[in-house]
Amino acid sequence: MAAPVPRRRRRPRLATPALLGLPLGWLVVFLLVPVAIVALYSVDVLSLFPGPHSFALGGWYRLFHQGYMSLFWKSAKMSLIVSALVVATAYPLAYFLALSGTRRKYVLLLLLIAPFLTSYLLRVLAWKVILGDQGVINSFLSSVGLHPLSFLLYSRFAVMIVLGYVWLPFVALPIFVTLDTLDRRLLEAASDLYASRLQAFVRVTLPLSMPGVVAAFLFVFIPTVGEFVTPSLVGGTSGYMYGNQIVDLFQQGFPDWETGATLALFLIAVISVLTFVFVRFLRLGEARVA
């Protein structure tokens, strides 16, 4: 007698979207709701000090009329420069790793990324030692008879170089991934059609890697706009940034949670708009290339 044939059960969706419920729930409760609360603080519906209060736009008025906007623009400019430079530096590195066929590419990639996973504060501290008036660079300059540079530390320059240093490893990864998944046959086809390497790069590689580049740019730009740790440690007087202002309103002087929340909310709004615009741009780019 033959073995019984198992009746084919109806296959339920083994991985239903319900699985996403828990992680999404976490983010709703601990990301979306808190942002809503920030919004409520910014309009004084919620407040630090007990007592009567109601909807008021004082925080928003102050945001636009008391110099916070120029501070925001100053921070955004610094982030733009840092992000552009970091992406420009990381691109050749990622290109080299992904497309040169080097055998040890993953190990090298790892070496590139590993510093990002180590102590952030300490790396900033180390730069203070390097950039100081008697630090590594300047003592070297003095020893060869040159004048020491004083703009290296406690300046916007210091903030930018440290932020660039901190984010460079992180940025290499998305560009690398994009270039790594590039179909080399396209390049070979270009070569077959008598295109030079440079032409192949400009007309094939670069456009196809754009999504990765844009993603990398955003990955640096957005967090650095709100940075406060690095500016507070190496920024000096002129390196005071938007993120510092937010923290100060909560931690220093005298608490002003309403204005602080307003500044934070403004930052979130700008970032959301930016991300939305860039993603749109990416979609259009992909559609065009396809």
Binding site: R8, R11, L19, S119, K128, I130, R184, V229, I268
Partner: protein, 270 residues
């Protein structure tokens, strides 16, 4: 002929890469040097070799407590974040439904949130709910930060695994949980370990959000930052942090290499 790089191009790139690596690791080397420096303040010129900072750490109760606190927070964070990451990755990779793009976006949003905003908003959340700040509140914030990293490590691995394996198990009578336990999990184990390590090291080192959400117990980065306020504490904290830094570097590199080897072996034809 190489279609991407000429021979000279390669040479230049190698040099450039080398320079960048030096640039990346030099500050770390400098810290190493100063952890042995016999002076209160990390500044040149050097003042002689000493091991006393490493010794002083052994008597600094608060420093040890901070390390312990960070370890606990990081452990909690990595377990929760990886568990959620596994659920999310399975959910995204195995099914197609209308809101999939939006769900994925939300899960990856923490990657681009400025930490000052995240820390601040969670601080206000706990203030409104009357929840006292503690190790758990820090862990909550860290899980939010880390979930995208876990997904970015687990999702590619899940998509790599042949779906047919899972379906075959199902056809042989295994329920979803058994399938997960005996088929999926062993196959993604290297990625899970990787995700745990990334989550752990990220949480251990995180300062910005923790500074808003810490209660009576300080994490190590918070301790480090406030050590900047007291010059006498700084050298021993640097000594400890150098140890932590080197340890995490070694662990990460070794683990990644192991992961690649393990996955390659899992994929290799029998």
């Amino acid at each position: 002929m190489d279609v991407a790089l000429s021979r000279n191009g390669r040479r230049i790139m190698r040099v450039f890469f080398g320079i960048v690596l030096v640039f990346l690791y030099a500050p770390i080397a400098i810290l190493l040097v100063f952890s042995f420096n016999n002076a209160d303040i990390p500044a040149f010129p050097l003042s002689g070799f000493t091991l006393r900072w490493y010794h002083a750490f052994l008597h600094n109760g608060d420093l040890q407590a901070a390390l312990e606190t960070s370890a606990i927070v990081a452990t909690i964070t990595s377990i929760i974040a990886v568990a959620l990451g596994i659920l999310a990755s399975i959910g995204i990779s195995r099914s197609r439904f209308r809101g999939r793009g939006a769900a994925t976006t939300l899960l990856l949003v923490p990657l681009v949130i400025p930490l000052v905003v995240l820390g601040l908003s969670l601080f206000l959340l706990f203030h409104v709910l009357g929840v006292q700040l503690s190790i758990l509140t820090i862990a909550v914030g860290h899980v939010v930060i880390v979930i995208p990293y876990t997904i970015l490590v687990l999702l590619p691995r899940l998509e790599q695994i042949d779906r047919a394996l899972g379906e075959a198990a199902y056809d042989l009578g295994a329920g979803p949980l058994t399938t997960f336990r005996r088929v999926t999990l062993p196959l993604i184990l290297p990625a899970v370990v990787s995700a745990l390590l990334i989550a752990f090291t990220t949480s251990f080192d995180e300062y910005a959000v923790a500074s808003f959400l810490a209660g009576t117990r300080q994490t190590f980065p918070i301790y480090l930052y406030s050590a900047l306020r007291f010059p006498t504490q700084l050298p021993q904290v640097i000594a400890v942090a150098v140890v932590v830094l080197c340890a995490s570097l070694v662990v990460i590199v070794a683990a990644e290499l192991w992961r690649r080897r393990a996955e390659a072996r899992l994929e290799a034809p029998a």
